[in-house]
């Protein structure tokens, strides 16, 4: 039995869910209710959702809307370039924190290369779409300021074992002022913690401090320790990943100014001038990626640490560190992991204006090339087989590509026509190596490789190595012989492209020649001429596109087969026709019909060229030829000055914006009137705008419908079907398809307009507008080639540019240190000028002293760092700018400086000195530019002091304030005041003494009073603008720039001390004891006073009158005895009564105790009695209850 029970217990009965019955129904209904609860909530408990208070509801609505709109930022047009420049990653930190190690590790991580000595910026390709430029920031405040301005991402290294250092905070503050780049913290030296708990707390403390400085949740990395002098690979990899996915917010200053962070510097100064004068100004070319915005030609740049310069020449070069071609793949291959750091001497290919330098490792040099003489000149000499005379005789000149060539013999009169078409094959090959440089190099080409040309007619398209070399020489030769020929070709040129004399071609030819001389056989650097380096220089700017193309091609070594343009064909044909015309002049009269097509194409082509014509008309050779030729000398003394009609007309004509064309159209003609008929609403409309078409389209859109009232059936499609011809062609089908697409588009547009745009806010509209603009910006010049595009847009950010700067101080080159960044910051249109700047300034709260008026400060504003002398001021309530002697402790104040014009809203920071490295915080003040002007209105308070010398009631005569009557006259009516606060007014000057005047006051003055006149005196801001030229200092001393010293420093240095005036010195205050006279109240007044106020004890008692003095009593002996007895008796009595009182008190105490006892007992008794009673009552009640219950149960 027991066992059975146990078994039953083991397998307990499972809960069985009821599927039927009331319980299950209840459950089901509850479930249903739950589902419907959400909808029914309002119905179930309408009060809970009723509007209790309209005001509160409005408030909550407002609040949500406010929060929503707060999230919005003003939308900006996205001007980020498609091909962005490398991201500047600045690695900052105090010394010995591991900056260089980190850069090295990151470079190794991305490129698998180890860099030994890192100097200057290092550019690498980090991913398919991202390049990085690493730069290390040393501890110099100049470098910190400069780099904060160009940084996109800051890696802030922090020594965890030490904690934050002052430099870190300084750099953060600099960043805040100049737009806040992305900042990532990196904690190093984490292995120095022995204790794990200590490490954790240190991390936490540092993290929170970092968050308060940057923003809550800023990324902080931990590099736990070193392995063989490097950070752990996995950690570096993670950091690299973070860097390559980080996103950036555009910074105001950076996006509105072009800038180049130079990664290469070349001195271009002529060696001869350098030899003559070691300290001459240098011409320097600086290279780097253009960032920020478009760079225009001839812009001014500021090089922080050097000064302002105007760019002599800008050109773009092929990207030395290009992004991989866009292909669908996940990772980069080894070839694409590029590294470019010219200052550190790394980087495969270095391009220049006219050359490419390839740095090859020793093993890669081709043996074949080594065996040949490396100098091109020598090579060309070896390859020459014929003498010059022979060549001259056999040389040919072809005026046009593909046209007949003119040989020596031709010139002598024998008109020999050669078939241009036949020659085409041979010329094709020529085009292959020298392209279209024909303008100047044609005859050189002809005479130098006559034999080759013949050879090539047999083997078209084949070009061996020596021949290629020949082309180089050819070019060189063409330089001297080409020039006379140019004019000759000019005469025949029919397109305006040929009219442009391409000087560039010549100069490039020369430079190529120079280069070949320079070539060095021992070095592993092989110079090749810029193959297709699309460098565009100044001269070419005026040229046309085809010309640029031609210069590109001119030195092309590996250029694909020439593109014979339409134009060329046309020329060739035209000449051919001409030739044939000459030859067969007598031929039929209907000849004109033959080349009808040709003529038509010619006309068409001319039309095509209209656009460049317009451009040429406006921007082309705008210079009118000088009238120098007209000035003929008369007898070597006088010059005949003949006013040239046309020129003076142009230069001195009436300045009028009206457009009076030479000939108006004849508007009386019906034909003319007809030509503008469509300009009016009454004219014919475009098909897509025409009301009739639109109506029809609508009809088509909505298709068939039946008018229910009339029962008429409208068929939308029948018209189309009717109009369509029976034979359906493919063309029609496409048309139909297009129509359908159009219809669809329209429908969608309508739908969008109805549903999407309905709740579109202003913000959405604005955003959309910006997006459209951005799209337009991107697409407008997309199809152009770079050379033309830079003319319109300027150089795009992301291009690798070369900026040539003339007249740089020689110290820049001689003291060049790649560890210091060279930045070329482009300046806006009027940012090169100087003026007065009004700033809002606040002393930094961590700077330990206040700033003194007129003490020189070094300000970092815009790109610049300069010393200026600020005047501090504060604005009074009436708008007056009152000068202050010192900056307020914890308040903003105004500051006025003389400095470079910088747009309002630009932030700045100020330091007192850039040379010292102190433990203290160095940033003295920060602020923002408010206003720019060419004059300032600062005033300081000036109190003029005078003394009254005659006083009549309220009028006084004051002297000593002015010196002449005139001065007084200027201040008539001015209000004056005395020290005691009596106000008055200047009335009139007095004749004697000079400068005295009459004034009236609101009260009578005393002779001891001093009268003030409060005036405001304008102060001038000192015009000191002293750029910090720290980059010009010798290597190793670049941190020691010192400018103008403050007065305090000067005094300290010269050992001077201020001697105060004896009057100004504080002396101990000596006060004489005060003495007050008695208050005398007249008797009458006393009488009238109430008793309270009447003087009472004030009067001395005075002498007691005689009658009131009582006589002294002298007792008799008996009386004395009685008194003694009475005395004794009273003493006894008092003792006894005291004793009795004591006893009585004791007795009473006893009594009280007794009574208390009794009371207690009584209470106890009563309690017990009550208890008994209550028990009884309770029992009784219980009984009765029981009995009643019994009764109830009986009832139930």
């Amino acid at each position: 039995m027991d066992g059975k029970v146990k078994e039953q217990k083991k397998e307990q009965k499972k809960h069985q869910q009821k599927n039927s019955g009331p319980k299950s129904e209840r459950k089901k209904s509850r479930k249903l209710d739950d589902a419907a609860v959400e909808e029914n909530e309002h119905k179930k408990n309408p009060k809970a959702f009723a509007v209790q208070s309209a005001v509160r509801m409005a408030k909550s609505f407002h609040r949500t809307q406010d929060l929503k709109t707060k999230k919005h930022h003003i939308p900006h047009v996205d001007r980020s370039p498609l091909d962005p420049p490398p991201i500047v990653v600045v690695v900052v930190g105090p010394p010995k924190v591991g900056k260089t190690t980190l850069i090295r590790c990151l470079i190794k991580n991305f490129t698998r290369q180890k860099l030994g000595d890192i100097r200057g910026p290092v550019t690498i390709v980090s991913g398919k779409k991202r390049r990085l430029t690493f730069i290390e920031c040393n501890n110099d405040i100049n470098t910190m300021i400069d780099l904060a301005k160009v940084a996109d991402l800051v890696l802030m290294l922090i020594d965890a074992s030490f904690g934050f250092e002052m430099e870190t905070f300084e750099f953060l503050n600099i960043c805040q002022v100049h737009g806040f780049p992305r900042i990532m913290g990196v904690l190093t030296h984490l292995d120095s913690f022995k204790n794990n708990k200590q490490l954790r707390t240190a991390k936490k403390v540092l993290k929170h401090r970092f968050w308060t400085e940057v923003y809550q949740g800023a990324k902080l990395f931990y590099l736990s320790g070193m392995v063989y002098g490097e950070y752990q690979a996995q950690e570096v990899k993670n950091l690299g990943r973070f860097i390559s996915v980080i996103k950036f917010r555009p910074l105001a200053w950076q996006t509105s100014h072009p800038y180049v962070f130079a990664d290469r510097m070349e001195d271009l100064t002529d060696p001869e001038t350098l030899r003559l004068d070691q300290k001459c100004d240098r011409t320097v070319s600086l290279y780097g990626y253009l960032r920020g915005t478009y760079l225009k030609k001839h812009t001014q740049v500021h090089i922080p640490g050097v000064g302002d310069f105007s760019v002599a020449d800008v050109g773009f070069l092929p990207d030395p560190c290009p992004l991989p071609d866009t292909k669908r793949k996940r990772t980069l291959n080894e070839k694409e992991r590029l590294l470019y750091a010219p200052m550190s001497g790394v980087g495969g290919v270095v391009y220049d204006k006219d050359a490419v330098y390839i740095d090859l490792p020793r093993g890669h040099v081709d043996r074949e090339q080594e065996s040949r003489p490396t100098t091109e000149l020598v090579r060309s000499l070896i390859d020459t087989h014929a003498t010059l005379d022979a060549k001259m005789a056999s040389s040919k000149v072809s005026l046009f590509r593909g046209s007949a060539t003119i040989t020596d013999t031709d010139v002598e009169g024998d008109q020999q026509l050669e078939d241009g078409e036949d020659e085409e094959g041979g010329d094709d090959e020529e085009g292959g190596d020298d392209g279209e440089d024909g303008d100047d190099g044609e005859d050189g080409e002809g005479n130098s490789d006559m034999d080759e040309a013949e050879a090539s007619t047999e083997q078209p398209g084949k070009l061996t190595e020596p021949q290629r070399v020949q082309t180089g020489k050819r070019l060189k030769m063409s330089v001297d012989e080409g020039e006379p020929k140019v004019s000759e070709t000019l005469a025949f040129a029919d397109s305006e492209d040929d009219l442009e004399l391409s000087k560039e071609d010549l100069s490039e030819g020369e430079s190529a020649a120079e280069e070949s001389d320079e070539e060095d056989s021992e070095s592993e650097q092989i110079e090749t001429k810029a193959a297709g380096s699309a460098f565009c220089s100044d001269e070419e700017w005026t040229d046309d596109e085809p010309d640029v193309e031609s210069t590109m091609k001119s030195e092309g070594m590996e250029i694909p087969p020439p593109k014979t343009t339409e134009k060329d064909l046309k020329k060739a044909k035209a000449l051919e026709i001409k030739g044939s015309d000459q030859a067969y002049e007598t031929d039929g009269a209907l000849r004109w019909k033959d080349d009808l097509q040709q003529k038509a194409s010619e006309v068409f082509l001319k039309h095509q060229q209209a656009a460049p014509n317009l451009r040429k008309h406006v921007y082309g050779t705008g210079k009118v030829s000088e009238c120098q030729d007209l000035e003929a000398e008369l007898g070597g003394l006088f010059r005949v000055s003949r006013p040239e009609k046309s020129k003076t007309n142009l230069a001195d004509a009436a300045d009028c914006s009206r457009f009076h064309p030479d000939s108006l159209h004849n508007w009386d003609l019906e034909e003319m009137l007809h030509s503008i008929a469509d300009c009016f609403v009454t004219g014919k409309w475009e098909e897509w705008q025409d009301a009739a078409t639109l109506l029809k389209q609508d009809e088509n859109l909505y298709g068939d419908f039946e008018d229910l009232e009339t029962g008429e059936v409208h068929n939308g499609d029948d018209k189309d079907q009717e109009t369509q011809p029976e034979d359906v062609k493919v063309d029609d089908e496409t048309q139909k398809k297009n129509k359908r697409l159009e219809k669809k588009r329209r429908l969608k547009e309508r739908f969008d307009a109805e549903y999407d745009d309905g709740d579109a806010t202003y913000f959405d509209d604005l955003k959309e507008e910006m997006q459209i603009q951005a799209e337009l910006n991107r697409t407008e010049f997309e199809s152009m080639d770079d050379a033309t595009r830079v003319q319109y847009e300027g150089f795009r950010p992301g291009m690798y540019v070369r900026l040539e700067i003339a007249a740089l101080p020689c110290e820049f080159v001689t003291n060049f240190d790649p560890h210091y960044p060279v930045i070329l910051g482009g300046l806006g249109s009027s940012e090169g000028n100087v003026g007065y700047l009004q700033l809002r300034l606040k002393k930094h709260r961590w700077y330990h002293r206040i700033l003194k008026n007129r003490d020189p400060l070094i300000v970092s504003l815009g790109w610049r760092r300069f010393q200026a002398m600020p005047l501090y001021h504060i604005e009074d309530h009436n708008g007056r700018h009152r000068m202050l002697k010192y900056t307020p402790q914890h308040m903003h104040c105004g500051a006025s400086i003389w400095g470079p014009i910088t747009p309002q809203g630009t932030g700045f920071l100020a330091v007192q000195s850039v040379s010292e490295t102190k433990a203290n915080f160095r940033i003295a003040a920060t602020g923002v530019v408010l206003e720019l002007d060419k004059s300032v209105t600062l005033v300081k308070k000036l109190k003029l002091i005078g003394y009254p010398y005659k006083i009549y009631k309220n009028t006084s005569f004051i002297k000593g304030m002015f010196n002449t009557v005139l001065e007084v006259a200027k201040f008539e009516g001015a209000s004056v005041r005395t020290v005691s606060g009596v106000r008055g007014q200047i009335k009139k000057a007095l004749s004697t003494p000079a400068g005295a005047y009459r004034a009236t006051f609101e009260d009578r003055l005393l002779m001891s009073d001093i009268v003030f006149l409060r005036t405001w005196y304008p102060v001038a801001v000192p015009q000191l603008y002293n750029p910090v030229t720290s980059l010009l200092l010798p290597v190793g001393q670049k941190e020691n720039w010192s400018g103008m010293r403050t007065v305090g420093q000067l005094k300290h240095d010269l050992g001077l001390h201020y001697k105060p005036k004896p009057d100004s010195v504080y002396k101990p205050v000596v006060r004489a004891p005060r003495h007050f006279n008695r208050l005398n109240i007249p008797r009458q007044l006393q009488k009238a006073l109430p008793f309270k106020s009447k003087p009472k004890q004030d009067q001395g008692k005075g002498k007691t009158p005689r009658d009131l003095i009582r006589p002294t009593v002298v007792r008799e002996p008996h009386e004395r005895k009685v008194a003694a007895l009475l005395d004794a008796l009273s003493t006894v009595h008092s003792y006894q009564s005291k004793k009795a009182r004591g006893a009585q008190r004791l007795k009473h105490k006893d009594f009280l105790q007794q009574r208390e006892k009794q009371e207690g007992e009584k209470v106890k008794r009563q309690k017990e009695a009550k208890k008994k009673l209550y028990r009884m009552m309770g029992q009784q009640e219980n009984k009765s209850q029981r009995s009643s219950l019994k009764g109830a149960s009986q009832d139930g």
């Binding site: 225009k296 001195d652 300045d655 300009c679 407008e780 249109s829 309002q904 809203g905 004059s935």
Partner: protein, 373 residues
């Protein structure tokens, strides 16, 4: 601080150079001003223009040599405010206004200028014309609001005597909007003002009738106001003229004007002829077409240049010589080149002559005079 200056020769395009110099902050030196003329040097109206520039700027340095043939101009910052200027009557107020229109939006405080002198003359665009065409153009670039106003105030003054008064006020802007004015739209109405001072009031009516006779063929919506002024309001010289403006659907204006020759100079013209000729000039302008009429081409191009670094486009009629020179000057001062695409008329289109589509990227100009608080 070496902001390199520019050098020019001759007095032509004088205003362009000074205005662009003021906006770009570049110094300018103009040499050989009428140096070969019998009466060399700057004329009074040019001096008056310089004085006007001096009034609206602060810190401008002007040096003129003894003969007035060399001018050195170092611009200051634009100040604005309320100014009053007596314009030299050799040129009409339009000459001065064209300069001010280019500068007014970039002042420190909004400009409110009262100009006194000749309101209408045959050479320069008149106040009425600039009011109808230039102000809507400013609005396209975001310079609009209550403050924008230009009108003939109290009196009209004809050449040569003058005596008219014009007020021009303009709000200030920090930046300008990029524009895409590529579709001019069709002309929906023509408005005009026929004015007459110190002549018979009937003159204006005669002008209106004759002008309507020409343009009524195209569009019926024509209204030409007559403006006859008497007494003190009529200036010092007699004269009459007509200003016509055609408004397109898109809110662009094409305009033409003609004014009688100054008293005692040139041949007299009948009001009927003037009306007809002016109407024909308007047709000529319509034939040229574009979104901006030929007088204001340079203004539109300037504001495109001074825009943000965005692409702006405008469709113009053939470029006037003044505009062509202006484009060159823009290249000198701002290094901006315009992309010019000629748009020849299509075969079956009857919309006048060849148009030019001008495209440029702005320099990212911002008003450096405006105060931020």
């Amino acid at each position: 601080m070496t902001s390199h200056g520019l050098e020019y020769e001759g007095c032509n395009f004088f205003r362009q150079r000074l205005v662009l110099s003021t906006l770009s902050g570049k110094r300018v030196r103009i040499k050989g001003i009428r140096s070969r003329d019998d009466n060399p040097g700057l004329r009074d109206f040019e001096a008056s223009f310089i004085r006007l520039l001096d009034k609206v700027t602060n810190g401008t340095k002007i040096e003129i040599n003894q003969t007035g043939t060399v001018l050195f101009y170092q611009p200051g910052l634009l100040l604005g405010g309320t100014i009053e200027h007596d314009c030299n009557p050799q040129r009409s107020i339009g000459y001065y206004l064209e300069g001010l229109l280019m500068l007014a939006a970039f002042m420190k405080t909004p400009l409110k200028a009262t100009l006194k002198g000749v309101t209408n003359d045959p050479t320069d665009p008149s106040v009425d014309l600039l009011k109808t065409t230039a102000l809507p153009l400013l609005k396209q670039f975001g310079i609009d609001g209550d403050g924008l106003e230009m009108k003939v105030w109290t009196s009209r003054g004809m050449a040569p005597g003058g005596g008219g008064e014009v007020i021009f006020s303009c709000p200030i802007r920090r930046t300008l909007r990029p524009v895409q004015l590529t579709e001019p739209g069709k002309i929906k109405r023509i408005r005009g003002i026929a004015y007459s001072v110190r002549v018979s009031p009937q003159m204006a009516n005669r002008i209106v009738d004759s002008a309507r006779s020409v343009i009524n063929k195209f569009i019926p919506d024509i209204y030409i106001y007559t403006d006859h002024l008497k007494g003190a309001n009529s200036g010092k010289s007699p004269g009459f003229g007509l200003v016509l403006a055609a408004e397109t659907q898109k809110g662009f204006f094409l305009s033409a004007e003609l004014s009688s020759a100054p008293q005692g100079q040139g041949p007299t013209i009948l009001p009927e002829d003037l009306g007809k000729n002016c109407a024909k000039l308007l047709l000529e302008e319509i034939h040229r077409g574009g979104c901006v009429d030929s007088t204001n081409q340079s203004l539109a191009l300037l504001f495109m240049t001074l825009g943000q670094q965005d692409v702006s486009k405008v469709l113009l009629g053939p470029l006037s010589p003044y505009t062509v020179e202006f484009l060159r000057h823009i290249r000198d001062f701002f290094q901006i080149m315009f992309k010019m695409e000629a748009k020849p008329p299509l075969e079956d289109e009857r919309k006048g002559g060849e148009k030019v589509l001008m495209t440029c990227v702005g320099v990212g100009f911002s008003n450096i005079s405006k105060v931020t608080k």
